[in-house]
Symmetry: C2
DNA sequence: ACCTGAACACCGTTCAAGT
DNA sequence: ACCTGAACACCGTTCAAGT
């Protein structure tokens, strides 16, 4: 109750960089990336906007920090896996890598705005680099040359962290300020209606939609299971890398 | 010279949606996406900012339109390929798809900001849908079931249009307002210096960098050939799809 | 050392007014 | 019908001032 500091606990009013970043993550999780402004973050903390500049250099630095918080979460979750055993057989690299990537994905799914911010960074967090280092380690123990490891990282791209660019996804998770969930089916309907109108221009697309969607007309564009599709694409790449690694070893 | 309209040519002052969008593309190509504001676009056209709202509904609509211009360029370039022959052998789908995707990529490389805008759209251009329809047609003629076609589109993701998310790319092509090219090597140096400092924390990363970069110390992070790496990842996916398609046909 | 308020230079956009 | 200028509600950020 008193404003003075009790032994062992920091004063509740002590604003630190860590507390600023934590608040920013909470705000982005709740209201979306568009709602994360210096002014709204300050309001969240019960503070004036300009006070933030004592703990972050500017907004870019804030976003760097906010990525670092999520990256720490990823590394923490991945570190709890037992994927880094040194005595594992060579073939262990594939399931281990798969688990690390899907674990990172699970963290990113809790912070839907994070992948957008991650992409926009030019510098990268130590936690992210260490995550990649562990992937490299797995591939090395799997017998990959560094050349193949390098190609593999490019081939995976953002999939190495557990996300991928979906071009036809009307869920609008990351971008924008409108966080309402009710518009989702409306967007699907509008997209479907648009496709119907251009039916003769895109015959294969229409036929595919008709054949794929079996559970009623309202699920024409919403049928995709993101997790299944992610794993499908991931496994194609992992299998391809597996074949190349085996070829390297004559 | 006169302000009156000569037969057959539109008056020079006639501002149309098409001219607005063309100007927006030119501006983004030249100064980057960050420089594309309603006010700067108006200045480019020698007009007042508010006049733009007679030809585009708002900024979102402007971005929709600007994507459509690039999408038309893609469809035009792809249409000039002879990849849609109906009498081609089944195995033709793979080289045909490869050519279409690399052709789309070539267009997008001329508009480095376009992939970012493309990603951010919730609705999609007719030209883009028709581009995808032609990819679907190729796979169908290659013997794919619609189910496999659907998985294939997810597996390719943005690669279907010729770009991919590169997480460790310090070239900053798409984002930001700083279009200067001189800072590139500086960013590489800074990144390398940072990695050296954390050498014992990321041993595999350091070793990979040492082994991969043979042409001098200044090319530590700049050695990647984007085109080569894109094709490497693309071919892994196409080969994987090929195997799955063959398996489908018993 | 840390926090504040006013102010500046930008955004996208609304509105009432011009021709 | 098309274009305009002033104005509004936002941004990120600078600066001089408070404690």
């Amino acid at each position: 109750m008193t404003s003075s500091q009790t032994a062992g606990t920091a004063p509740r009013s002590a604003l630190t960089r860590a507390r600023v970043l934590e608040s920013a993550v909470v705000l982005a999780d709740r209201d979306g990336l568009g709602a994360l402004t210096m002014r709204s973050l300050a309001r969240e903390l019960g503070i004036e906007a300009m006070s933030l500049y004592h703990h972050v250099a500017n907004k870019e630095d804030l976003l760097d920090g906010v990525v670092d918080v999520v990256a720490a979460e990823i590394q923490d979750a991945v570190g709890r896996l037992d994927t880094q055993a040194d005595d594992a057989p060579k073939s262990a690299w594939k399931p281990a890598m798969r688990r690390q990537i899907l674990t990172s994905r699970a963290v990113l799914l809790r912070h839907p705005w994070a992948s957008t911010v991650l992409e926009s960074r030019t510098s990268f967090s130590l936690h992210i680099v260490r995550y990649f280092d562990s992937l490299i380690g797995l591939m090395r123990r799997g017998g990959f040359s560094y050349d193949l490891v390098h190609h593999a990282l490019h081939a995976l791209g953002s999939r190495a962290l557990g996300f991928s660019q979906e071009l036809f996804e009307p869920d609008g998770a990351a971008a924008g300020s409108a966080a309402g969930g009710g518009a989702e089916e409306g967007a699907d309907d509008a997209a479907t209606a648009m496709l119907m109108q251009m039916a003769e221009q895109v015959p294969h697309m229409i036929e595919m939609l008709a054949e794929i969607s079996h559970e009623g007309p309202e699920s024409t564009l919403g049928w995709c299971d993101d997790q299944t599709e992610f794993e499908f694409g991931l496994d194609i790449i992992l299998d391809g890398l597996d074949r190349l690694a085996e070829r390297e070893q004559h």
